[in-house]
């Protein structure tokens, strides 16, 4: 049982605030992904949980134990580093065995665990090699095997796939998901790749400039962004936003058409819709097609609505050419609204 509780954690480097008061609970055996653009503080937060960085304030609890004053080795964690950190002077076997030797496990136990995890990661034929004789993908597997061999309560991973080429990344992603689900550890996984986050996570914490903006399931984060930032960060292409003005009770004027919305007692809101949630039908948003990109199953059409960019993902059967005038009707149940001042969802 290893629930991770992060309470009011903040971190400053000099006068720079890398993390502002983070609160996050990760349940036992949950796969939590920290997702955000480069520099938003993901690594810093992960390193605070690992004990490689001390928080300026706040508490970290793992499995009901307060750990923020303990060294990493007393926290019951294992970690996969971004550059793998596979020790170059040790063989693959000794790399995987490193933590087990530090724990002074009996040799038979070490042999057993190294063999098991090496087989799990398909590197059993590499055990005698050195890191210098391995490819990036193989090194990555060693790093994961080294973490799994510890049978830790918690595994922390910092962009473990970011140094692999695209195809390998896809393969490792699926494999990691299977292996980690079977290992029953609690996982915190850092990435800036939203597809990776979506495919792996039980829950995603979307981070922005040292804050967690939303922590929810991948579908929730995608469908119901808690803030405008989440909608514009997640999804490729991202959400469309159009400023709307109040017309009356629950009715809003969005670029000339009337859309039903909340009655929040405000005069202005931001209307938001995902590019795939519009249909071509009469009475919709007037859009001028600018760029048409056929993507196989769908066609991405970049249009102009009221002078601002608006993207639509349409069925590839629909014939559109640049310059065409389109009428795009938003699917009513997919429309979202954001407060233009706080940027929070309404």
């Amino acid at each position: 049982m290893a629930e991770i509780v992060i309470k009011n954690v903040a971190k400053s480097f000099g006068s720079f605030k890398a993390l502002h008061s983070i609160d996050l609970t990760i349940s036992d055996q949950e796969f939590m992904v920290l997702l955000g653009a480069s520099g938003c503080g993901k690594t810093t937060l992960l390193r605070i949980v690992a004990g490689l960085e001390t928080p300026t304030q706040g508490e970290v609890w793992i499995g009901g134990r307060r750990v923020d004053h303990l060294p990493p080795r007393e926290r019951g964690i294992a970690m996969v580093f971004q550059n793998y950190a596979v020790f170059p002077h040790l063989t693959v076997f000794e790399n995987i065995a490193f933590g087990l030797r530090m724990k002074k496990l009996p040799q038979a136990e070490i042999d057993g665990r190294v063999t098991r995890t090496a087989e799990l990661m398909h590197i059993e034929q590499l055990l005698k090699r050195y890191s210098g004789q391995l490819s990036g993908g193989q090194r990555q597997r060693v790093a994961v095997a080294r973490a799994l061999a510890m049978e830790p309560d918690v595994i922390l991973m910092d962009e473990p796939l970011s140094n692999l080429d695209a195809l390998l990344r896809l393969e490792m992603r699926a494999e990691l998901k299977g292996v980690l689900a079977a290992s029953k550890t609690t996982t915190i996984y850092v990435t800036h790749d939203q597809v990776e986050a979506m495919s792996l996570a039980d829950r995603i914490s979307v981070m922005n400039q040292g804050r967690i903006v939303q922590a929810a399931t991948p579908v929730e984060v995608y469908r119901n962004p808690a803030a405008r930032f989440v909608g514009s960060f997640i999804g490729n292409p991202p959400m469309n936003f159009i400023p709307a003005t109040r017309e009356g009770e629950g009715r809003w004027n969005v670029a000339g058409i009337t859309v039903e919305g909340p009655d929040a007692g405000r005069e202005r809101l931001d209307f938001a819709i995902r590019p795939e949630d519009v249909d071509i039908a009469p009475g919709g948003l007037k859009a001028t097609a600018r760029v048409v990109e056929p993507l196989g199953a769908h066609t991405l059409v970049t249009t102009e609505v009221n002078g601002a960019m608006f993207r639509a993902v349409l069925d590839s059967d629909i014939r559109v050419s640049p310059g065409d005038e389109l009428s795009l009707v938003p699917k009513p149940d997919r429309v979202r609204w954001f407060d233009p001042e706080t940027t929070a969802a309404v």
Binding site: L52, R73, I77, F81, N83, F87, H89, L90, Y130
Partner: protein, 281 residues
């Protein structure tokens, strides 16, 4: 000229310089050591080995190196580990530690002589504190071990910094991520030193040890300053035969002995601290 040969062409002057100023005198010394009026002879080597001071000089030199170098290694490793962890004031500390490097070995010997001699600093302090009634002759031939100790002190004081500087730069080359990985996987600070620092420091340890050991075999000025000829060492004997006894042949034989133990120790360190190609960073 094709780019392939350019590096060799650039190295040529230095190589020639080495050949002319190292290999040539070396050959000359070898010739001197082994030739007499009738061509090849072991006469000079026999003169050297049968002289009563030879065994003592050889033993003293090796024992001195065997004591001084490990002490310097341990001290330099500890100092380098501490200096590497410093966040501020690192260069200031490095400068202070390296001050003795700016002194010649003779100057260092004289400084320590000023401490140990009969009217020296140590005697004044002991006398001033009332611990002794009258100055003690520390560096006399009756207590050769004091001379020995003084030489060790002077050598450690003088030349530990060079080892430290090499190790500090070597430690700087070890990526921090390895330490963090070791830390996460359960290594205490001592274990990290043994399991990460030492093995990954092998190339620097090798350079430092070879440099220091060779220099230790050539110890001379410090010994002369502190002990005159009371404590014979190989280099001192070479000097004696060359200039006092005016026998260049035996002096050359001595020089060859120093060269031989230097090569042997170099090969030893190259072998013991070798990093297999596949295990390099």
């Amino acid at each position: 000229m094709t780019p392939r040969f350019l590096p060799y062409a650039l190295l040529l002057p230095a190589t020639l310089f080495l050949l002319v100023f190292f290999l040539y005198p070396f050959v000359q010394i070898a010739v001197l050591a082994f030739s007499g009026p009738e061509g090849f002879t072991l006469q000079h080597v026999q003169t050297m080995t049968s002289h009563w001071k030879f065994g003592t000089a050889l033993t003293n030199t090796i024992v001195l190196a065997a004591i001084v170098v490990p002490i310097q290694l341990v001290m330099a490793l500890s100092m380098a580990s501490i200096v590497t962890k410093l966040k501020t004031g690192r260069s200031a500390i490095l400068y202070i530690f390296t001050i003795p490097l700016g002194l010649s070995d003779l100057a260092a010997g004289i400084i320590w002589l000023a401490i140990f001699e009969q009217s020296g600093f140590l005697n004044s302090v002991l006398y001033g504190l009332g611990i002794i009634e009258q100055p003690i002759l520390f560096l006399g031939y009756q207590n050769i071990w004091v001379i020995f100790l003084a030489v060790i002190l002077a050598e450690v004081w003088r030349a530990t910094a060079i080892v430290m500087v090499i190790l500090v730069s070597g430690m700087g080359l070890i990526p921090r991520e390895y330490y963090e990985a070791a830390e996460v996987f359960g290594a205490s600070p001592w274990k990290r030193f043994v399991k990460i620092t030492l093995p990954m420091l092998r190339p620097s340890l090798q350079s430092a040890l070879i440099l220091r050991t060779l220099a230790a075999f050539e110890v001379f000025a410090v010994v002369v300053a502190l002990g005159g000829t009371t404590l014979p060492v190989l280099m001192g004997e070479t000097f004696q035969w060359q200039f006092a006894l005016q026998d260049r042949n035996v002096a050359s034989a001595y020089a060859l002995v120093i060269l031989a133990i230097s090569i042997a120790s170099t090969l030893f360190f190259l072998r013991v601290l070798r990093v297999p190609k596949e295990a390099r960073i």
